[in-house]
């Protein structure tokens, strides 16, 4: 089952990359862009019988390794849900 994990910088945490992308976009002429945030997109295949089993695994992986709660939020999607 495919799992997609989205990791984003936490509210209130500096996101220099997001800021840099935003200002580059603006200087490229995309003036109507704001609130840019840059995070991570992690794709994984989990062998699981049910979506809920895959979800449990995904949650554990996020908490153990994929996101750092001090600076990041995460959410995930299990394919086919």
């Amino acid at each position: 089952m495919q799992v997609k994990v989205f990791v984003t910088p936490r509210m209130g945490i500096l996101d220099p990359q997001g800021r840099a992308v935003e200002s580059s976009l603006q200087s490229l002429g995309f003036k109507n862009v704001s609130g840019v945030k840059v995070g991570k997109y992690i794709l994984l295949e989990v062998e699981a019988r049910t979506a809920s089993e895959a979800r449990d695994e995904a949650k554990k992986m996020c908490e153990a390794l994929l996101a750092n709660p001090v600076i990041e939020d995460y959410r995930f999607e299990v394919d086919g849900e």
Binding site: P16, L65, N68, V70
Partner: protein, 229 residues
């Protein structure tokens, strides 16, 4: 004092730290392999700079799970001295042995240069050979050294004296220009609440010989050596 320098895959300044402690200071130091769990009876553990596991995903995130880190955590819980330099600092944060996290430099690029550091707390095992307010000239070299922690936690850390080192200018003053990576409150080094675990971005092991640009880093190692239990 007996020192152990941990070698993770991708550690780079491990040899330099060993050289500084063993060759320059003449102390007993050895390499500890990340796959081992034994600490070989050392009295201080140094987590060196580098790019452990390529620093893929997040700096220090994967190294934290090395077998040796279990022993390091236990050693720290027992009050043993642990110092993490650069990547070592990042690993300590990921391992929750030190509060906060290190993220990409404000400039988004790697920075290698000598900077001024002010000692904020000289009564720790890592700084006892300095005085509060002393300025140290130390090199930094990192892409992810911007220190962050929640505001309320920072406030408490300041009150407890856990902020040990700060980036300043040559006159010892804080300023935006003197903060090379954009760290919150210009923080360059912090300790845990018990003051036995210390993480810093600057590299004291690269400031131990005059020929290579300065000796201020020795003060950190001398402090630790003088803190032997």
């Amino acid at each position: 004092m007996k020192w152990g320098v941990v070698r993770f895959p991708g550690s780079l300044d491990d040899g330099d730290a060993l050289y500084a402690i063993a060759e320059v200071m003449g102390q007993d130091a050895r390499i500890l392999w990340h796959k081992d769990e034994s600490l070989g009876g050392v009295e201080c553990i140094l987590l060196p700079g580098g790019f452990s596991y390529g620093d893929y995903l997040r700096t220090g995130a994967i190294a934290r799970f090395s077998p040796i880190m279990k022993s390091v955590a236990k050693f720290a819980a027992d009050g043993g001295l642990v110092i993490g330099i650069c990547n070592g600092f990042q690993i300590l944060c990921e391992a929750h042995l030190i509060p906060g996290a290190l993220t990409r430099n404000r400039s988004l690029s790697f920075i290698c240069e000598r900077v001024w550091i002010r000692v904020e707390n000289a009564s720790t095992p890592f700084t006892r050979a300095t005085k509060r307010g002393d300025l140290l000239r130390l090199p930094i070299k990192h892409g992810e050294g911007l220190y962050v922690a929640p505001e309320d936690e920072l406030r408490q850390m300041e009150e407890r004296g856990q902020v040990i080192l700060r980036y300043v200018d040559a006159d010892g003053r804080e300023s935006d220009a003197a903060n090379p990576n954009g760290s919150m409150r210009a923080i360059a080094g912090v300790a845990n609440q018990r003051f036995n675990v210390f993480g810093l971005m600057p590299h004291p092991e690269h400031a131990v010989e005059a020929m290579l640009g300065g000796v201020d880093g020795l003060k950190i190692f001398q402090s630790i050596a003088g803190s032997a239990r």
